[in-house]
């Protein structure tokens, strides 16, 4: 259940981004989720819904984009895509690698609007 910890920090970051950019309501958050983080999307959704309650992100949609893993063999220096239970280098047949990608959770965008936008919209309608 590290999803709950991730959701809590995710909320802190998106609220900060919203504040800096004068966003009053957050509509969508796009997150690139490394496959090695082993995030369970349903659990992540549930955790996100729990933490955003009562905030400006209460109705926000969380979109997770899975990022595949890439590792580099420390001996052969070649890059390859590992399986979750198999990090053996195809050349030397040893699992001694450095992770290049797939081990991060990165917020790539936050979408929302300000109250001014709404008021402006209403005036436009009038």
């Amino acid at each position: 259940m590290h999803e709950m910890s991730i959701a809590t920090e995710l909320l802190e970051i998106i609220l900060e981004i919203a504040d800096k950019n004068k966003i009053d309501i957050i509509e969508e958050v796009h997150v690139k989720s490394g496959v090695l983080k082993k995030i369970v999307p349903d659990v992540m959704d549930a955790a996100f819904i729990a933490v955003v309650e009562g905030t400006i992100a209460e109705k926000a949609k969380l979109t997770l984009e899975e990022v595949s893993a890439q590792v580099r063999c420390n001996k052969c220096k070649i890059s390859f895509k590992p399986e979750i239970d198999d990090f053996l280098c195809p050349v030397c047949n040893k699992a001694d690698v450095e992770v290049i990608s797939g081990n991060d959770m990165i917020i790539s965008s936050v979408t929302g609007y300000s109250k001014n936008d709404i008021e402006k919209g209403k005036k436009d309608e009038d």
Binding site: S5, I23, S108
Partner: protein
């Protein structure tokens, strides 16, 4: 309005972990993060390890959801012990370690053992600033756990197979564990140990002392001078 950003989640934990790492380095101690399922023998291992280190002073930070039982068990052996009750959290965070350090005399300590919350999923995701991750797998848990929980075993610096006195009683294929580990972390040392019977303790102590020397050896010499 769409704001494009690149913001890493869990960066806050990593920043505090790095600060912890620097504090450990400047104090010249080896910080070891001990990770396993509940009941794999983390506390019993420490009850045997700390006295075996002789003159070397050890501090223990224990993480559990509830109670101070493990801290009380370790008090007779360690220089200082502190318990973190995590409530609903299934792992320790770097800032909990950082806060605990305020009450601990790390300058006078050689080893810091962090007994993480019993869990082999989440603790692997949260750097505490430790020099090494020690992962325990006990014989009663079964020989299939490396393949079932690969992430923690992939990042382990040493794997201790604990409760090996039960090898003849329970079905446990050690080769299966070794084969699964070889696919994830080929160079990781595997030490078979029974804390109760003191089997394998010598190899574990050798590993700890070697890690202490390789991580902070030069600094230790500097302190002596």
């Amino acid at each position: 309005m769409k704001i494009n950003v690149i913001k890493r989640v869990l960066k806050a934990n990593d920043i505090v972990a790095q600060e912890n790492r620097e504090k450990f380095k400047s104090a010249g101690l080896l910080a070891v993060n001990i990770i396993s399922s509940p009941g794999s023998g983390k506390t019993t291992l420490l009850e045997k390890t700390i006295p075996a280190l002789g003159e070397k002073k050890s501090i223990v930070i224990v993480g559990d959801l509830e109670t101070t039982r493990d801290a009380k068990r370790l008090e007779p052996y360690a220089y200082q012990v502190t318990q973190i009750q995590t409530g609903m959290s299934c792992h320790l965070y770097a800032n909990q370690i950082s806060e605990s350090l305020n009450d601990l005399d790390i300058e006078k300590t050689d080893f810091l053992f962090i007994e993480n919350v019993g869990n082999i999923v989440c603790p692997g995701e949260f750097d505490l600033g430790e020099n090494a991750k020690v992962v325990l797998l006990s014989v009663p848990e079964g020989d299939d756990k490396v393949a079932k929980y690969p992430t923690i075993f992939r990042v382990a610096d040493v794997v201790l197979i604990t409760k090996i006195d039960l090898l003849g009683v329970l079905t446990f294929d050690l080769d299966r564990v070794k084969n699964d580990l070889a696919k994830l972390n080929s160079n990781v040392p595997i030490i078979k140990i029974s804390s109760l019977k003191s089997d394998g303790m010598d190899k574990w102590m050798d590993w700890l002392k070697e890690k202490h020397n390789s991580s902070i050896g030069e600094q230790a010499k500097f302190v002596t001078e």
